[in-house]
Symmetry: C2
C-alpha cells in the first residue's frame, strides 16, 4: 500500500504557483473571499485560503457581510465584485445561512471569475470537455492527486460513491472526458443504489464522497484498488481534548492494507482544495490579462 500524501502534493502545487506568480508583472492575481457569518468551520477555511494566497503572492480581499445580509444585498455585493477589474476570482464560502439561496448566489458570480466552479456555465463546460472553464476545487484536486500519483485512468473503472454537485457529479464527468488523462469507465453510486458492495468491488479507482464516517469497509474494496477518500467527518473521541477526531468516508484501518494506493484523512484530498482554488485564481487572472 502506498499513501497518497495530499499535503506534499499540495505543497508542490503551491510552490509552482508561487514561482509562476513571481514571474508576473506588478499587478498580482487577486481573489475576493466572501464569508457570511461566523460559522467556525467557514472562519477556519477562509483563513487557510487567505494564508495560502499570501504564501503564493496572490492578493486576497476578505469581505465579511453581516449574517443578516439579504439575498438582494448579497447579489449587489457580487455584482460589484463582478464589475471590479482589480478582482480576478470570487469565492463565496459555503455553507451560507439558511435564508440565502446558495445556488442562486453561486450563479450570480460571473463565469470568468467563478474560481470555485459552482456556476451553471462552468458545470456545463465540464460536460462539454471544454477546459476553458473552472473546475470545482475538490473534483479538480482529486484529478490532480491521481495524475501526480501516477494513476492512469484510461480504460479503467472509476466508481464514485456520492452524486453531489460539489464532488460526485463533476468528478464523474471529468473522469469520463475524452482526454488523455481521463477516458475512464465511470459508475456513480449513491444512497439509493442497491447492491453497493458488488459495484464498489469492481472499482480500479474508488472515490468515496458521501459524508458518512468510515462507511467504506474492506469487503467493499478490490485488492490493489486506488482509494480516494473525500469525507471529513467528526466522530466522538473522549481521548481527545476537543472530544472528537476527524475520519473519512473510508474505514482506513481495514481498507488501507489491501488498497494499492489510498489517501488519508486528514492530509489527503483536503489540502488539495485550497491549492486548486489558487490555481483557478491564477487561471482567471491569465484569461483576463492575456500575456
Amino acid at each position: 500500500m502506498e499513501l497518497i500524501d495530499g499535503n506534499k502534493i499540495a505543497a508542490g502545487i503551491v510552490a509552482e504557483l508561487k514561482a509562476a506568480v513571481a514571474a508576473l508583472p506588478a499587478r498580482k492575481p487577486c481573489i475576493a473571499l466572501v464569508r457570511v457569518g461566523e460559522d467556525p468551520a467557514s472562519v477556519s477555511y477562509v483563513k487557510r485560503k487567505e494564508q495560502t494566497a499570501a504564501e503564493i503572492g496572490i492578493t486576497s480581499r476578505v469581505i465579511l457581510p453581516p449574517v443578516a445580509i439579504s439575498q438582494a444585498e448579497l447579489f449587489a455585493l457580487i455584482d460589484q465584485l463582478n464589475a471590479d477589474s482589480a478582482i480576478d476570482g470570487i469565492l463565496v464560502q459555503s455553507p451560507l445561512p439558511a435564508h440565502l439561496d446558495e445556488t442562486a448566489v453561486f450563479r450570480r458570480i460571473t463565469p470568468h471569475k467563478d474560481v470555485d466552479g459552482l456556476g451553471t456555465i462552468n458545470l456545463g463546460k465540464i460536460a462539454q470537455d471544454d477546459d476553458s472553464g473552472f473546475v470545482g476545487c475538490t473534483p479538480a484536486g482529486i484529478m490532480e492527486l491521481l495524475a501526480r500519483s501516477g494513476v492512469r485512468l484510461a480504460g479503467r473503472h472509476v466508481v464514485v460513491i456520492g452524486r453531489s454537485l460539489l464532488v460526485g457529479k463533476p468528478v464523474a464527468l471529468l473522469a469520463m472526458q475524452k482526454k488523455s488523462w481521463a477516458n475512464a469507465t465511470v459508475t456513480v453510486c449513491h444512497s439509493q443504489t442497491t447492491g453497493l458492495p458488488a459495484l464498489t468491488r469492481q472499482a480500479d479507482v474508488l472515490i468515496a464522497a458521501i459524508g458518512r464516517a468510515e462507511f467504506v469497509t474492506a469487503d467493499m474494496v478490490k485488492p490493489g484498488a486506488v482509494v480516494i477518500d473525500v469525507g471529513v467527518n467528526r466522530v466522538a473521541d473522549a481521548s481527545r481534548k476537543n472530544g472528537y477526531r476527524l475520519v473519512g468516508d473510508v474505514h482506513f484501518a481495514s481498507v488501507a492494507p489491501l488498497a494499492g494506493k489510498i489517501t488519508p484523512v486528514p492530509g489527503g484530498v483536503g489540502p488539495m482544495t485550497v491549492a486548486m482554488l489558487m490555481k483557478n485564481t491564477l487561471k482567471a487572472y491569465r484569461q483576463q490579462h492575456p500575456a
Copy 2:
C-alpha cells in the same frame, strides 16, 4: 419481451401538445428551424419537424442560409432570432458544414430559446438537477419512453454505452438525478472501456448510443433487461431498392428474445426526438409568456 413502441408513445405526446396549444391564446408558440445547406438527412429531419409543428399548431419559420454562410453571418442570424420576440425556440440543424464551429453556434443561442438543449447553460442545469432548462431531444425522449413504458429507475442500474454530448452524458446525468423518476445507479461505458460485456450484463436498463451497427449482442445483455437502442445506422442490403436498411446499435434479432422490453429501430427513440423538440418549444413559450 415487450416492444416499446416509440411511434405510438410519440403520437400520444403530439396529441397532448396539440390539445395544450389549442387552449392557448391567439399568438401560438413559434420555432425557428435553421438549416444550412442541402444535406439530404437534414432536409428530411427539418421537414419532419415542420410537419409535426404544423400538426400541433406550433408555427415554424424555416430559415435556409446558403451553405457558404460564414460563422459571423450565422452568429448575426442567431442574434436576430434571439432578439425576435415572435420566436420562442431556435433549432440549428446538426450537422453544420465543416467550416462552421458547431459548439460555438449552439452556444450562441440564448439559453431560454435553446430548445435543442445543446448550450452550456442547459447542460449545466441538468447537472444541477434544475428542471427549468431544456434537455436535449434525444435524452429527453429516452427518459419519456422509459417513464411511459412503466420502467422505474430508482435504485436500478442504468448502463449507457457512449459518452456523447448529444446522448450519453445528458442521459447519464438525468438518470442519476435526485428525482422520483430517476435515482438510478449509472455506469457510462465507451470506446476505451475494457471488459464491456461484463459491465453491460449488469444493466437493468441498457442504453446503446455509440453509432455502431448491431454492436450489442445477446451475450452482452442480462435476461429481462430493458434495452433502449439510440443508434441509426445504414447497412448495405442488396434486396432493398435504395440498397440499404436501417439498423440500430443493438443486434435486435438475438437480443429481443431475452430482453424484458426493447425499442425497435426504426420506430423507437427516433420518433420521440421530434415530439420532445415540440414539447420544449411549448415550454419555452410558456416561460416567455407566463399565464
